[in-house]
């Protein structure tokens, strides 16, 4: 396979055709490490999804998913997060084209979309809690807030991380190291988008249907 051949010839010339974030062996290794992190983070969500799937009918006379979920609310959250995944992708594209200004712009747009997602979710949680749908109310609500809250805190961490990456790009420009950082923060962001797709499918849409 061609891919393996490149691995064997790691002389400086052989890596030139690669995107910038892969051109240094060490950065490339860090990207592999980050993929491994994503695979294990997926297992965290697997456990939380399994818990939710088992407990979602255990409402203990409290609010049911159907009563609780607000369709316009989670539709907006979904649209915002899908769009932010796209703008994150455009940030990677700008990085690969060596366009620092565009890169910073798209990172900022992605962060703003992430912030509005978190704000909407926080608003949803507060509204639920004020209506008596707190985490302590039933097993369904415990598993719901744990799963969706874990995703929301991942997004919050992602926003802070993206901001720190943005600062480094501002100060140092696009180097193999900042290129790798931009690449992996966006991998993380796309991963969170995938997790959200499963949340809106398994939690929200299923909850409204059942």
């Amino acid at each position: 396979m061609a891919v393996m051949e490149h691995h064997l010839h790691e002389a400086s010339g052989a890596r030139r055709h690669l995107p910038m974030e892969y051109r240094d062996v060490h950065q490339s290794l860090r990207i592999l490490g980050f993929w491994l992190f994503l695979a294990t983070d997926m297992l965290l969500f697997a456990c939380l999804f399994a818990t939710y799937l088992v407990l979602r009918t255990h409402t203990d006379g409290g609010p049911t998913p159907r009563e609780l979920f607000d369709v316009p609310g989670f539709t907006a959250e979904t649209f915002i997060l899908l769009t932010s995944s796209f703008t994150g992708g455009l940030a990677t594209l700008a990085m690969r084209n060596g366009k620092k200004g565009q890169l910073i712009g798209w990172l900022a747009v992605t962060m703003l979309l992430g912030l509005s997602f978190v704000a909407l979710e926080a608003q949803e949680f507060v509204k639920d809690a004020l209506e008596g749908a707190t985490m302590q109310r039933s097993a369904f609500l415990s598993s719901f807030f744990t799963l969706v809250g874990t995703h929301g805190s991942h997004v919050s961490v992602g926003i802070v991380w993206m901001f720190l990456t943005l600062l480094q790009v501002l100060r140092r420009g696009i180097t193999p190291i900042t290129a790798r950082k931009v690449f992996i923060v966006n991998l993380y962001w796309h991963f969170l988008d995938v997790v959200w797709v499963f949340i809106f499918t398994i939690v929200y849409l299923s909850g409204v249907v059942m």
Partner: protein
């Protein structure tokens, strides 16, 4: 190191080539991925909110649509096929996905006998 010599060459012969570079790096791919993810999401929402099918088949179709969204993110946005060595990351992801579905589905299955332990 490799980066020192490779840093500038891949950005094309000169500043004039930037327009072409952009096409080469494929903004089109991202736009296609975005449109696909919006279309898949719209189908999911439409099927669920109009209750277009009986519950069982509906859940199956929703899960398949969500699976397609993974494919879109991986191939259009996350550049899963790129890299410089054997695709270890793909194997790790595949293993992670197998574990994920195993944990979720087996938990549901085993707890379907839950009448004694509720």
């Amino acid at each position: 190191m490799a980066n020192a010599s490779g840093q500038h060459t891949a950005f094309g012969p000169g500043p004039g080539a930037h327009g072409e570079e952009e096409h080469k790096h494929g903004a089109g791919l991202y736009i296609a991925g975005y449109i696909l993810s919006l279309v898949l999401t719209a189908i999911s929402f439409w099927l669920a909110l109009t209750r277009a099918m009986p519950l069982g088949p509906l859940m199956l179709v929703l899960i398949i649509l969500a699976g397609l969204q993974i494919v879109v993110q991986l191939f259009f946005f996350m550049h899963v096929t790129e890299g410089d060595g054997p695709p270890w990351h793909s194997m790790a992801l595949l293993l992670g996905l197998i574990f994920t579905f195993a944990i979720a589905l087996m938990s549901m299955w085993i707890m379907s006998f839950h009448y004694q332990v509720q």
